[in-house]
């Protein structure tokens, strides 16, 4: 039996949750003793290699690529965790949900005060993923087993959650770790 495999990804997030994961500091040495990392921005592996035990997802789904990646994670991960407020609620990117997509595009590419776009064309390059009509939290796109709230969840929260999951015990977060003001 190999070590449990962990994959992480950032969809429509700011990588703040991943930064928070790095904030576990020297405990990262213990972590690599405990698990093997599959696809993750931390090791720069770009594709999932096969079945994974735990998938950590930062950010919500704002475009088609986010959906694609999330679905791949769902397919390969035994347990999927939404990490942070963007994955759970859509977060800051979801502020655009109040504005129809058509108006977002107009402001960003056509009419905005700082826009220079003489051709008056909305970018259509295939490299730019198509935006969804609104930003979706992950659990509205695929089934998600756990939610770890916070913006970002603190390093201690992430550390506690991972360890609880790996040791098969129930997660108990002290009040200080889930209080945000």
């Amino acid at each position: 039996m190999g070590k449990p495999r962990v994959a992480t990804t950032s969809l429509c997030g700011c990588f703040g949750c991943h930064m928070s994961l790095l904030d576990i500091d020297e405990r990262i040495l213990s972590l690599v003793e405990l698990v093997d990392f599959d696809r993750s921005p931390i090791n720069d592996i770009k594709e999932l290699s096969g079945p994974v035990d735990i998938g950590l997802v930062e950010g919500g789904c704002a475009n088609e690529e986010n959906v694609k990646v999330l679905q791949e994670f769902r397919e390969h991960c035994r347990v999927l965790i939404s990490v942070g407020d963007c994955a759970i609620n859509g977060g800051i990117p979801a502020m655009r949900n109040m504005v129809p997509l058509r108006e977002c595009f107009r402001e960003a590419f056509l009419d905005g005060p700082t826009v220079v776009n003489p051709a008056g064309k909305i970018p259509d390059d295939e490299e730019i993923p198509l935006l969804l009509d609104r930003v979706y939290p992950c659990h509205e796109v695929v089934k998600v087993e756990y939610h770890l709230p916070g913006c970002p969840p603190s390093a201690d929260t992430l550390w506690e959650a991972l360890n609880a999951l790996l040791e098969g015990r129930s997660l108990e977060l002290p009040y200080e770790l889930i209080k945000y003001d």
Binding site: L101, R102, F105, L130, D133, Y136, V141, V142
Partner: protein
């Protein structure tokens, strides 16, 4: 040349003594005379009354009968409550959309017509129906709405709509010169308390022969409870109001019946206005008030002139005014306060806010209105039907009254019955009547469910048909909707939730946000994407909203979901998908991407099919 905007506003404000507490009336009049309360009109009002703009703007944005932008000369509001939708209100809407070339919510470019939905205009027994300006247009058949609009289109002058749109007036006082309405009373069963005849003054004279304390004792002995729904003992409410400190007291009649499916107050106001005014006068005497207010819902504006006339008649007869009925020192008069279209104003503290010229936001309790009500003075707010009971109790005695009905719920109750039955309309029945008896009375064949008490009440199924209508079992403010076998209870619950989402005043988060979430999750199940965990989610969220909301709206708004979860759980379970079906989330990629595909003119590269 007509008067300038400034002049018009100035005159209107003067009519109300430049009194800030009459802002709702001022805004209503401005809307009527200038077409809308736009930004320059707001400036004018703010200047004349010396109040900040924002107070006027927040008022205008709150009420659905006030507008900050010009509306069509003819405003068509199609009633979209559940009984109306069952009878094809949506077909009427699309017929009119086609005829007018606009969508619901829009105004024609020539400024002649606006089209919108209204929550419930009080004609559920004559569905589908619409409100055209102040004119009630019941029983819209296929093609009649379209023909009506065609007639109006041909006319240059859009005055006296009733002559153009209405062929026959309804029964009773609906045909009265000051009403001239096509509404029918549909009184199917008249009882002895509310719908029996009564001579003007018969109850009042007896009351004035007693002391106010004796009147209150008489009401307490009758065990009369408020007919609005909550069922608070009227005598006790009056005792509290009388005992509270204050140099003035007020008696307010709640004629804002907005609970979808309720229309019995419309019938009382049409046929027994004197009984109501008599009850109010007795109430004024009992609590020591000199001023009575009738808060009349905007949808019933067509009754205003008729009611004013009835009040004038009573003044003439000495039944209102100074030294009422010759009783030295007892002065009492009644003013009609028009509402402006807000369900929440049926809640008593919101109603008081509205009377004070504010947004219809509920107030914190305590202090209760009995201590700190209208303009900060002790106030008793009573339902139309309750006050009618009062007049009758004084006329015929508390012993007579309490012998009717059941021990905990004395007297009769007016039911407004609509939906799948052959004889919808108003029934005056003794409390304690079984639901099955009600079905037999209104000729409901093989009903599957009944919504007792409107959306905020309870949806009950066959297992509950032997239960009784009274405060201790199935309580209702009057609304009773019958649903046949071919109806979808989840669909109905979803429509009720839409109603609450629309009517939430937005003050507390559990109600403003929670109701939206409830509806979304319910619609997910309706769309066939429900998972077993969704049922628990609905239950928990519903309970949270009830527990954490400040007023009656939020405390009852999850009922459509919670009561169907209880009575019709199988309707949910049939639609739930297998728990292992993890792929299924209800996410619709195609529709999520379609706008971006249109805007960029290209297809998805990540998802090719």
């Amino acid at each position: 040349m007509g008067a300038t905007r400034e002049e018009v506003v100035k005159v209107i404000c003067q009519d109300y003594g430049n009194d800030r507490s009459r802002l709702l009336d001022i805004a209503r009049d401005v809307r009527e005379q200038l077409g809308c309360v736009d930004s320059p009109a707001v400036d004018c009002i703010a200047e004349v009354l010396s109040i900040p703009r924002v107070e006027i703007e927040s008022l205008v944005s709150f009420y659905s009968f006030l507008y900050s932008e010009p509306q069509g000369q003819v405003q068509i509001r199609i009633c979209n409550d559940v009984p109306d939708m069952m009878k094809g209100a949506d077909r009427i809407a699309s017929e009119l959309e086609e005829e007018l070339g606009i969508q619901v919510g829009e105004t024609t470019p020539d400024g002649k017509f606006s089209l919108e939905y209204a929550s419930c205009i009080g004609l559920s027994d004559q569905a589908p129906s619409a409100l055209v300006n102040d004119l009630m247009v019941p029983r819209l058949g296929a093609g009649t709405a379209r023909r009506g609009v065609q007639i109006l289109k041909e006319r240059g002058e859009l005055k006296e709509l009733d002559k153009l749109l209405i062929r026959d007036y309804g029964d009773g006082n609906n045909a009265h010169d000051l009403v001239r309405s096509a509404c029918s009373n549909n009184i199917r069963k008249a009882g002895e308390v509310i719908l029996a005849e009564m001579r003007r003054g018969a109850g009042l004279e007896k009351a004035l022969a007693m002391s106010p304390v004796e009147v209150i004792r008489e009401i307490k002995t009758s065990r009369l409870r408020g007919r609005g729904g909550a069922g608070f003992p009227t005598g006790m409410k009056w005792e509290f109001t009388r005992a509270a400190d204050g140099d003035r007291r007020y008696l307010v009649c709640n004629a804002d019946e907005g609970e979808p499916g309720t229309f019995k107050d419309r019938v009382i106001l049409t046929e027994r206005p004197d009984l109501l005014f008599e009850g109010m006068t007795i109430g004024g005497y009992a609590i020591g008030a000199e001023d009575g207010l009738v808060y009349l819902r905007a949808e019933y504006a067509y009754l205003r002139e008729f009611l004013e006339h009835a009040l004038a008649k009573r003044r003439e007869l000495g039944l209102l005014g100074e030294n009422v009925c010759g009783k030295e020192g007892f002065h009492f008069d009644i003013r009609i306060q028009m509402g402006a279209g807000a369900y929440i104003c049926g809640e008593e503290t919101a109603l008081i806010s509205s009377c004070e010229g504010l947004r219809g936001d509920p107030k914190n309790r305590p202090p209760f209105p009995a201590q700190h009500g209208y303009l900060g003075k002790p106030t008793s707010v009573n339902n139309v039907e309750t006050l009618c009971c009062v007049a009758r109790i004084l006329q015929r005695g508390s012993g007579w009254f309490s012998a009717i009905g059941s021990p905990g719920s004395t007297g009769t109750k007016l039911l407004s019955i609509s939906g799948d039955c052959m004889r919808p309309g108003v029934y005056e029945v003794p409390f304690g009547i079984r639901l099955s008896e009600v079905f037999a009375m209104c000729d409901a064949q093989d009903p599957m469910a009944a919504q007792v008490g409107g959306p905020s009440g309870k949806m009950v199924g066959e297992a509950d048909f032997d239960r009784t209508i009274c405060f201790d079992d199935l309580a209702t403010g009057g609304s009773l909707m019958v649903f046949g076998r071919d109806r979808d209870v989840l669909e109905i619950a979803s429509q009720f939730m839409q109603f609450f989402v629309h009517e939430s005043c937005g003050y507390c988060t559990p109600c403003r946000v929670g109701n939206v979430l409830l509806k979304e999750r319910l619609d997910k199940i309706l769309g066939g994407h429900g998972q077993p965990t969704d049922l628990e989610y609905l239950q928990r969220l519903g309970e949270s909203i009830k527990m954490a909301s400040r007023c009656g709206l939020g405390q009852t708004s999850p009922n459509p979901v919670l009561s169907t979860l209880e009575s019709f759980r199988s309707a949910y379970e049939e639609r739930i998908r297998d728990a292992d079906d993890v792929e299924e989330s209800g996410f619709d990629l195609q529709s999520a991407l379609s706008t971006a595909q249109t805007l960029t003119g290209r297809k998805s590269v990540h998802f090719e099919d």
